[in-house]
Amino acid sequence: MVAVCFYFQVHQPFRLRKYSIFDIGQNSDYFDEKKNSEIIRKVASKCYLPTNKILLDLIKNNDGKFKVSFSISGVALEQFERYAPEVLHSFRELAKTGCVEFLNETYFHSLSYLFDKEEFSQQVKMHRDKIKDLFGQEAKAFRNTELVYNNELANFVQGMGYNAIVAEGADHILGWRSPNFIYTPKAVGSMKLLLKNYRLSDDIAFRFSNKGWSEHPLSVEKYASWISDVNGNGNVVNLFMDYETFGEHQWEDTGIFEFLKRLPAEVMKNPDNSFVTISEAATLYPSVAEMDMHSFVSWADVERDLSAWLGNPLQNSAARELYKLGRLVKATDDKALISDWRKLTTSDHFYYMCIKWFSDGDVHKYFNPYDSPYEGFISFMNALNDIAIRVREIANKDVSVFNHVKALTLVTEQGTSMSQGKVCESPAEKLYETIMNDPESFMSKINSSKADDSDSLFDQK
C-alpha cells in the first residue's frame, strides 16, 4: 500500500517598492501596490484559477478518492481578497469538497521562530484564525516557512496544539532512511513528522520541462510506475511543492496541466495506491522511528539550510534590526504600523538580499523583483528607518506609549548608532537614543527635511 500525499505551498509576498532615503519621514508607502496586484492577477490566471479548476474536477470525478493539502500564507490570502477575489472563491469551492486540507503556518510567511517566539506564536494564531474564518477548518497540521525545521521547533509547535508537521527529507538527515515513512520528532512525544520526497517532488517541480533531463518528457505512466515502485518499501510518498509549479514555473505549453489531469487515474490503476491529506497520513500510519534533526533544515537551495535568507551580513543585519524594532512597534498599539512591520517579516525580503550568485543564485535572480540584492537591502533598511520614526511620532503624542517604549529601552542593551544624520544602520538603537535624549531636535530634523526639497536639478533647468 502506498499513498500519495500532495501538499502545495501558495505564497505571495507584499513586495517592497523602491523606497528611497528621501521617502523616510515623508510617506510610509513601502509596498509596491501596482507590481503586487499585477503579479497576483498574472499568477491567478496562469496558475491558481486553472489549476484549482483541474483539482476540483479531479475530486468530483474520483468520488472523493483524490485528495490534496494546501498551505496558503496569510499575506497571499490578503492579496487575493484585495486583487483577485475569484481565486479565494475557487479555494473555498475546493474546501467544500472535504477532500482538501488547509495547513497552518505563520501568517506573514516569516522566519520569526528564529528571532522572536512570541511573535511567531502570534503570527501562527493569526493564520489559524484566518484559515478557520475562510475555509472553516481547524488545522491540526503545521508547516513552517520554507520548511524551516528542527527538533526544538517541532516541540514548540506541538505545544501549540498541532499533531503533524512537515519538513524537507534532506539526504544529510535521512542517510540510509527513507522519506516514505512517517517519523516522530526527537523527544516530542506523539507528533508525526512527514518528510518531503524531494526526488519525486522535484521531478515535477523543477525537472518536468528540462529537455536535458534523461527522463524528459515525463509521462504519467512512467511517473505513476515510480510511485508504484515504492510499494513494499514505504507507506506514503510526500510530494511537496510550490503550487506555482503548475502554469507559472512550468508553463502550460510544457504539458504540466495534462500531466496533472491524468495522474490520479494512472496512479490509482494500481489498486494498492491511494491519495491522502497530511493529517490523514499522520493518522493512518504509525511512526517507524524517532528522527533527530538538531540543526535547522529547509527546502531551499542545494544547502537545504538557512543560508538563502540568513547567509550573508546584509541579510543578518537587516533581520536583526527588524526584530529589534518589533517590541517597540508593538508597544505603540498602532494597527497600521504593526501590520506594516509584520509585512517586512516575510522571508522573501531576505531571500532577495542573497548573493549566492552561482547555481542557486540563478533561482534567486528569477524571483527577485530588484535589479540586485543591494537594492533590496537599501529599500528594506530605509523602510525600517521610517518605521522607527513612526514609533517615535506616536510616542511623542501619547504619554503612555512614550513610557512603554521608554521602559523597553531601559531593559534593552544599548549600542551606539553609526550615524549622525537621520538614516542609520540600527534604527532601533537610534530610537533608544533619541527617546532618552532630546526628542525636540529629532522631530525638527524630520520637519525641516519636508520643507526644503525643492532645489532639485529639474527645477533649475
Binding site: 532615503i21 543578518n316 543585519s317 537599501i378 530605509n382 553609526m418 538614516v423 544602520e425 536639478l457
Partner: protein, 413 residues
C-alpha cells in the same frame, strides 16, 4: 599568430583609457604567444621625445615580443579640430633651434589620418602578419588601406563612438563617415560592451553577426594599505574622477551632493579632473552653498588617483554615456564601494556595485547615503567588489581576441 596592430596612443603618454587598454591587451596577447607589430603615429613633439626615450630605456618591448613602429602625426585621442590647431602651433614653436622644420603631414587632423594610412600601407607590405587589428576611428583609414594592399583580414576595435562623445548633439559627419567606413570594410568588429554593440547596430548599420563583445579587464593596482588623510578625521569622502565634460555627468554628481548634505552634513565631495564644464560646476557648487564641502583638485595623475580612491568612502561614476568605464574598477581595487551609471558598459559585467540611472539624482544621493550609513552594505560591497575586480584579468579579453583572430582566418579560407 602574427598581428599588425594599429593604435594612436600608448603609455606612458595617453589621453584616455584606450591607451591603457592597448597596453594591457597587447601585453596579455604577447603572453599568449601572439606576435604583435604595433604601429602608431607620433604624438605632439613635447610628447614624442619622452615617449621614445622611455621605450628605449625600458627595454620592455623586445621582451614582450612587441615591436613599435612610429609614424609622425599630431593626432591625439580626443583631438577636435580646434585643439589640433593648438597642438599644431605648439608643435611649430617647438621646432629645433637649428631652424630645421620638422616634417609635417598635413594641415588638419583628417588629412593626417589619410597620410597615416599612406604610411601604414607601405609598412603593411613590408611586414609579415596574418591579421590586422585597429583601435579606434583615427586609424581606420590606415586599417582599410592595409587590408586593400595585402588582402589580409581586418578586425576593428571600437572603444567609443562619436555619438558617445557628443551625446548625440553635433555629431561630426566626417568622423562618423570615417568610423562607418572602417566598420564596413572590417571582416569583424570588436566592441567593449553590449552598450556599444547596440549603438553600432542602431547608428552605424553594422549587422549583428559581425560584432563580437570583448569586455575590458581591470588594471592590477598596488594596495596602499591604510593610507589616510586629515579630512577623514571629520568627514566622509565621496569621489568623482573623470573628464569634466557632458559625457561623464559631473553635473549630476554636484546636484546629488546637495541632497546628500541635507541628510548628512559631514561629507566632503571630491570632483577630480578637468574639462569644459569645470568653471560652471565650481560656480554651481558655490551657488548651492557647498563651497566648503567641495574639493576640485583638477587633473590628477595615476598616483593621485590611487590615493583618492583609497581615502574615498564611495566612488560615483554618473556617466551619461560610457562605452565601458574603467575608473570604477580602480576604486573597487582600493576597496571603495562604487556607484555606477546603468548607461555604462561596465555595468553589464559588474555585480557588486550599486547601479543608478545617471539622471536620477535622488537615487544617486539615496545610494551614497546608504553606503555611508549602512555598515553591512558598505562591507559587503568592499569585500565582494575587491574579489570581483581581482578576477577581471586581462588574459580573458586577450583569449577572446585570439579566438576572433582564428575566426578571421577561417573566414578568409
Amino acid at each position: 599568430m602574427k598581428v599588425l596592430m594599429l593604435g594612436w596612443e600608448f603609455p606612458p603618454y595617453f589621453a584616455g583609457g584606450v591607451g591603457m587598454v592597448c597596453y594591457h591587451l597587447t601585453r596579455a596577447l604577447c603572453q599568449q604567444g601572439v606576435d604583435i607589430t604595433y604601429v602608431m603615429p607620433f604624438g605632439p613633439t613635447m610628447v614624442r621625445s619622452d615617449y621614445m626615450k622611455i621605450l628605449i630605456a625600458d627595454n620592455l618591448f623586445p621582451r614582450l615580443r612587441l615591436q613599435l613602429k612610429e609614424v609622425p602625426t599630431l593626432l591625439g585621442a580626443y583631438t577636435s579640430e580646434s585643439s589640433y590647431e593648438h597642438d599644431f602651433k605648439q608643435y611649430l614653436m617647438s621646432s629645433s633651434p637649428g631652424g630645421r622644420t620638422k616634417a609635417l603631414y598635413g594641415p588638419n587632423v583628417f588629412q593626417e589620418a589619410l597620410l597615416f594610412a599612406e604610411k601604414v600601407k607601405l609598412i603593411a607590405q613590408l611586414e609579415d602578419f596574418d591579421v590586422i587589428h585597429a583601435h579606434d576611428h583615427w586609424t581606420f583609414p590606415a586599417a582599410v588601406a592595409a587590408k586593400k594592399a595585402t588582402g589580409k583580414p581586418l578586425v576593428v576595435h571600437v572603444h567609443i563612438t562619436e555619438f558617445d562623445k557628443t551625446g548625440g548633439n553635433g555629431v561630426d559627419q566626417r568622423i562618423y563617415d570615417m568610423e562607418r567606413q572602417g566598420m564596413e570594410a572590417a571582416d569583424l568588429v570588436i566592441v567593449v560592451s553590449n552598450f556599444i554593440k547596440n549603438r553600432l547596430m542602431q547608428n552605424y548599420g553594422v549587422p549583428e553577426w559581425k560584432i563580437r563583445v570583448v569586455y575590458n579587464a581591470a588594471e592590477p593596482t598596488t594596495d596602499l594599505n591604510d593610507y589616510t588623510c586629515k579630512i577623514k578625521e571629520t568627514d566622509k569622502v565621496v569621489l568623482f574622477i573623470g573628464r569634466v565634460t557632458l559625457q561623464k555627468g559631473p553635473d549630476y554628481f554636484v546636484e546629488a551632493a546637495k541632497k546628500v548634505l541635507h541628510f548628512d552634513p559631514n561629507v566632503k565631495f571630491v570632483l577630480a579632473g578637468t574639462g569644459d564644464m569645470l568653471p560652471r560646476l565650481i560656480e554651481r557648487a558655490a551657488q548651492l552653498g557647498m563651497a566648503d564641502r567641495f574639493i576640485f583638485p583638477g587633473f590628477v595623475n595615476r598616483d593621485e588617483v590611487m590615493r583618492l580612491n583609497k581615502i574615498a568612502d564611495v566612488f560615483v561614476m554618473p556617466s551619461v554615456s560610457e562605452p565601458f568605464g574603467l575608473v570604477p574598477l580602480e576604486a573597487m581595487a582600493q576597496e571603495t564601494p562604487a556607484i555606477i551609471s546603468k548607461q555604462s558598459g561596465v555595468s553589464e559585467v559588474l555585480e557588486h556595485v550599486l547601479k543608478v540611472d545617471f539622471w536620477d539624482v535622488n537615487d544617486i544621493a539615496n545610494k551614497i547615503l546608504a553606503v555611508l550609513h549602512y555598515g553591512a552594505l558598505n562591507n559587503q560591497l568592499k569585500q565582494h567588489g575587491l574579489v570581483e575586480v581581482r578576477n577581471m584579468t586581462w588574459d580573458k579579453p586577450a583569449s577572446s581576441c585570439v579566438t576572433i583572430y582564428g575566426e578571421l582566418l577561417r573566414m578568409k579560407r
